[in-house]
């Protein structure tokens, strides 16, 4: 179990080098997106529109932060439960998404898409909202601002801790448990 520092955007080489169980520290830009944003994004793409943000090489963080108190860039921002985005995740990977951060296991279809497109799934510690907030240096809504906490928000992160839960070969920490 190594601790690996990675930056965004994620290259295929970096993705291939990550193994289930590795600890990572992510520096760069990640995008929050959860249920409503995924639904809107995939519906837009199905209508022939471009996604509201460029997904190639990027990481989606399944999270809806609490409001930023005065003087802070963001409120608490731990992961939300990933299975709710399973229906949409393969499409996002088709569009070039290379990483997803969330918590909890993914469906087989998602893992198959990860193997096909070369993407990785990270688990962040659920409920560690305050600790993860300290890794966020800036936050800017970039799409669907009317969704409030569910908007797609660009986060500038420094050494954001996560674990490789499922790697691009389909090795999955969650399915090792009972």
């Amino acid at each position: 179990m190594a601790t690996i520092e990675i930056t965004t955007p994620l290259t295929d080489e970096v993705v291939k080098g990550l193994k289930a169980g590795d600890s990572v520290l992510i520096t760069g830009t990640i995008y929050t997106a959860r249920d409503a944003a995924h639904k809107r994004l995939t519906e837009a793409v199905a209508k022939g529109e471009k996604p509201p943000v460029e997904l190639k090489g990027q990481i989606f963080y399944y999270a809806g932060p609490s409001p930023a108190p005065p003087g802070k860039p963001i409120g608490s921002v731990g992961p939300t439960t990933s299975y709710r985005m399973d229906a949409f995740a393969p499409k996002t990977m088709e569009l070039g998404l290379k990483g997803m951060i969330g918590k909890g296991p993914r469906a087989k279809e998602v893992i198959d898409a990860m193997k096909k497109h070369g993407a990785v799934y990270f688990a962040a510690v659920g409920g560690a909202g305050a600790l993860l907030a300290k890794c966020v240096k800036a936050a800017k809504p970039v799409a669907y601002p009317d969704l409030g906490a569910e908007a797609i928000t660009e986060l500038t992160v420094e050494r954001f801790p996560a674990i490789v839960a499922t790697d691009c070969r389909g090795n999955d920490l969650y399915s090792r448990t009972a």
């Binding site: 179990m1 169980g21 600890s23 409503a36 999270a63 809806g64 932060p65 609490s66 409001p67 930023a68 108190p69 802070k72 409120g75 608490s76 921002v77 731990g78 939300t80 439960t81 299975y83 918590k103 909890g104 296991p105 688990a123 510690v125 659920g126 409920g127 560690a128 909202g129 305050a130 600790l131 907030a133 300290k134 969704l147 409030g148 906490a149 801790p161 674990i163 839960a165 920490l173 969650y174 090792r176 448990t177 009972a178």
Partner: protein, 280 residues
């Protein structure tokens, strides 16, 4: 008769919403420290350490422990000798939630319609459960409930002869099915008996007990202990990533029920285990 202005209730609810979300339960933190000694998984140990550190940061920075500051569940026990004045009691509670979630920079996570959605913008309405009890006090419990755990709720209408074994099987099955989704280590609330909705309400109320407090009934206290041990043998572990700390406690409440049934409800709470109580 004792008069109580509902504005007092608003003020109390506001404060409880904020404190419950920012200051972690001391019993939970003590349980994490204890479990660090026995946790078998290295990843599991890291998770427990992270949660302890997170609680420290949340308290210091006045940030919510978790960004899912939940839908506010408010339990009211209103003494029969109390006369509530100055407005509608439930409106006063909703106003307390509105103020708490605004002033505390808590997340607004409530939508006005379950299908059409549409965020209400102020985390109201709360879900309120009221009982009229003897006495002249008003006891308010605010239990913000996040939906990662709430979505892992289950009810089974067991047969009347299912027994402790039937309860045991169902509860353990639910925890395994939930896996990592409710943010283990969890606290498991179980309601047995009553009716469909009574069992569910008991399961939720069981989650407002002091952590690890046993049932006053010896056979139920025994069941709680056995369930906790069995759940911690499932290997789900912290965050569902494997390990021996899947649950911190199991609380079971019972109620008389119909000759033809044995409803069993399971409500799982994440490790944040948030509630505040005030007596006015």
């Amino acid at each position: 008769m004792r008069e109580l202005k509902v504005a007092e209730i608003t003020r109390a609810v506001r404060g409880l919403c904020i404190e419950a979300n920012i200051v972690a339960d001391e019993d939970v933190l003590a349980a994490f420290r204890e479990r660090l000694k026995t946790e078998t998984s290295p990843v599991g140990k890291e998770v427990l350490k992270t949660l302890l550190e997170n609680a420290r940061i949340a308290k210091e920075e006045r940030l919510p422990i978790c960004q899912d500051t939940g839908m506010a569940i408010v339990f009211l026990e209103v003494g029969q000798e109390v006369r509530l004045v100055g407005g509608d009691l439930e409106m006063a509670v909703h106003e307390g939630v509105r103020q708490g979630y605004k002033d505390g920079y808590l997340r607004k996570s409530v939508v006005k319609d379950p299908v059409e959605r549409g965020n209400t913008g102020d985390n109201t309405p709360a879900v309120i459960h009221t009982r009229i009890v003897p006495g002249d006090k008003v006891r308010i419990t605010v239990a913000p409930k996040g939906f990662g755990s709430e979505n892992m709720s289950f009810v089974k209408m067991c047969t009347p002869t299912a027994g402790y074994e039937g309860i045991r099987q169902f509860v353990v099955e639910c925890v395994k099915k939930a896996g990592g989704n409710p943010c283990p280590p969890v606290v498991v609330g179980v309601g047995v008996g009553g009716t469909f909705e009574k069992a569910a309400l008991m399961a939720k109320q069981a989650l407002t007990r002091k952590l690890g407090e046993k049932s006053p009934r010896p056979e139920i206290a025994k069941l709680e202990g056995e369930l906790l041990e069995e759940i911690n043998r499932t290997g789900v572990g912290p965050q569902g990533l494997g390990g021996s700390t899947t649950a911190l406690a199991v609380h079971v409440d019972t109620y008389p029920t119909h000759i033809a049934g044995m409803p069993v409800a399971v409500n799982i709470c994440c490790h944040a285990y948030r509630h505040g109580v005030v007596e006015l």
